[in-house]
Symmetry: C2
Subunit: 295 residues, 2 copies
DNA sequence: GTCGGCCATAAGCTGAGCTGATAGTGCGGG
DNA sequence: CCCGCACTATCAGCTCAGCTTATGGCCGAC
């Protein structure tokens, strides 16, 4: 009864945010998309989109349909990958979401490794923080999500999603050179109780606060930026101290900051998420392996 | 790339067993279906069906696609149900698979109960033994599966499938009247070690053999029929003794057989299976409730 | 007010995809 | 053995689903 093509079209429209935008994405004209949606709403028996200037927003019914449409689109994508593999064409396309510092370090290594092993495999990279990456995975917008969490704040995966641990990395203390001079080789966090702090994304901020709380104080957060280049610039200018995961320091290291490692600064865990439904897809497995090796 | 309509059509063809049969089901002509399949194979890049004179059989690639197509069709069906519910039309359609003796007793009660509560709800009943019913559920051909297993031979549900226990029913001993006369009020199974036995489906047979083994003998199986009417006819003619679950005796009771109950004869467990994906669908929930009440 | 985004509607044209006819092929029965 | 009967592919032709272009209305920003 519901035309499945129109269901996936509906999904494109919601994701694009407007009928016109979806039409542009698809290389169609706006009325074509508009007519399909009307036909879909007619066969659904109820309105699926609230039209407004500025775009469209799904109604209650639309949100229900969207969830179904997500898994339909996901299955279609997986089917294409499987068939491409069977057809020996290996013209696979894998979509990966990764957090910024990994996108700058592990991911490029993995992609170049993959290119030598499977030259005809296309990787599509989206930069996204773990919560967004997980959501995109669930919605079938990506096949793999490279995420992190902190050892003291583990996050449970969603049902239907498999979590493969990829190892841990230490979190390091980052100090202005002149500030480091006044401290020992391995300063205790408590010594920095009165310094201004610079923190990153919501979860990194929570981690920093927990570590400091354990050392007996609440940090004065002066600056917030989840860009590790910005954070190091601020530190280098003496504007505060910060905690940064090793990968971020590998991706970019400001020459004038001092980096100190120590167990008290915490540990971050890297993990790779994929839908159970995508278990057997060769292109996905190949990228997952390359990431595991490069990690 | 793959047209989802054609993917669903492909599924219909495999389920129908031939291109012509699928065309008849859909009210189309055979060339129309044939052309769509060719287009699908073209965009898949490989052959999906082995064509033969007796119909078609999916290739390796076809089987992969079929699995994806099953979940796509299932999601589409669920989406339709959800939307129908939202549209307040309540013109729901629920597909139920049930084993024969339940189909004759609990199910009609549940359906008539449902008709009074939700007159616009259509129930589509398929008779199927538990293994087939489970498979049909997995493949999205039905929404609910009413199954049984024996307490001493529990079956684990598949992933993605929820099992709701619906209670237990005793298994009774069924004897010819003249045979019963020579035994006590509650005969021990061992007393029937030399009688010919009549058993039903594979799993019921296994259960009978286990009960007898516990009583110290291996039954001589003379007749096999999973039709409880046939079994009782055979017993009434004095051709053997049998074990039948209470529901089967409720559905049909031959006037000339003697029925004895006793713990040693075993217990059968009824359960209702549904896909987790169908959790929230109102039509499915309504039938599930009606079955639970009628059970 | 004007402009620039959004949406819907109308009318017209074109090709995707239907039908009907035909031919090829393997299997079972007289 | 050959005929009948299933099945499938292929061809040609027509029709309408669904595209396009054109237009108008609505709302918010400037």
């Amino acid at each position: 009864m519901l035309d499945p093509r129109r269901v996936v079209l509906f999904r494109s429209v919601v994701r694009a945010g407007s009928i016109s935008a979806a039409a542009r994405d698809l290389g169609w004209t706006q009325p074509a998309v508009s007519q399909h949606l009307q036909a879909l709403e007619r066969s659904a028996g109820c309105r699926l989109l609230e039209r407004g200037p500025g775009g469209v927003v799904p109604t209650e019914a639309g949100r229900l349909l969207l969830a179904r449409a997500d898994t339909i689109a996901g299955e279609l994508h997986l089917a294409e990958e499987e068939l491409a593999a069977v057809a020996q064409l290996r013209r696979g396309r894998v979509r990966l979401a990764a957090y910024p510092s990994a996108a700058a370090t592990v991911v490029p290594r993995a992609i170049s490794l993959l290119q030598t092993r499977h030259p005809e495999l296309d990787v599509e990279l989206t930069e996204a923080e773990p919560p967004e990456a997980t959501e995109e995975l669930r919605a079938g917008a990506v096949d793999l999500a490279l995420v992190f969490d902190y050892a003291d704040d583990a996050v449970d995966p969603l049902p239907g999603v498999v979590r493969v641990p990829l190892g841990e990395e230490p979190v390091d203390l980052v100090l202005p050179a002149e500030r480091a001079a006044g401290l020992g080789r391995r300063p205790r966090l408590a010594a920095l109780a009165d310094d201004p702090w610079i923190v990153g994304c919501v979860r990194c901020r929570a981690h920093a606060v927990r570590r400091c709380a354990e050392a007996g104080f609440e940090p004065r957060v002066r600056h917030v930026s989840d860009d590790y280049v910005v954070v190091q610039q601020l530190v280098a200018l003496g504007l505060g101290v910060s905690l940064l995961p090793r990968t971020a320091l590998e991706a970019y290291r400001h020459p004038e900051v001092v980096v100190v490692s120590g167990a008290a600064y915490g540990t971050r865990r890297r993990a790779l998420l994929h839908r159970t439904a995508a278990d057997g897809v060769p292109a996905v497995r190949a990228l997952a392996e390359a990431l595991a090796v490069s990690g």
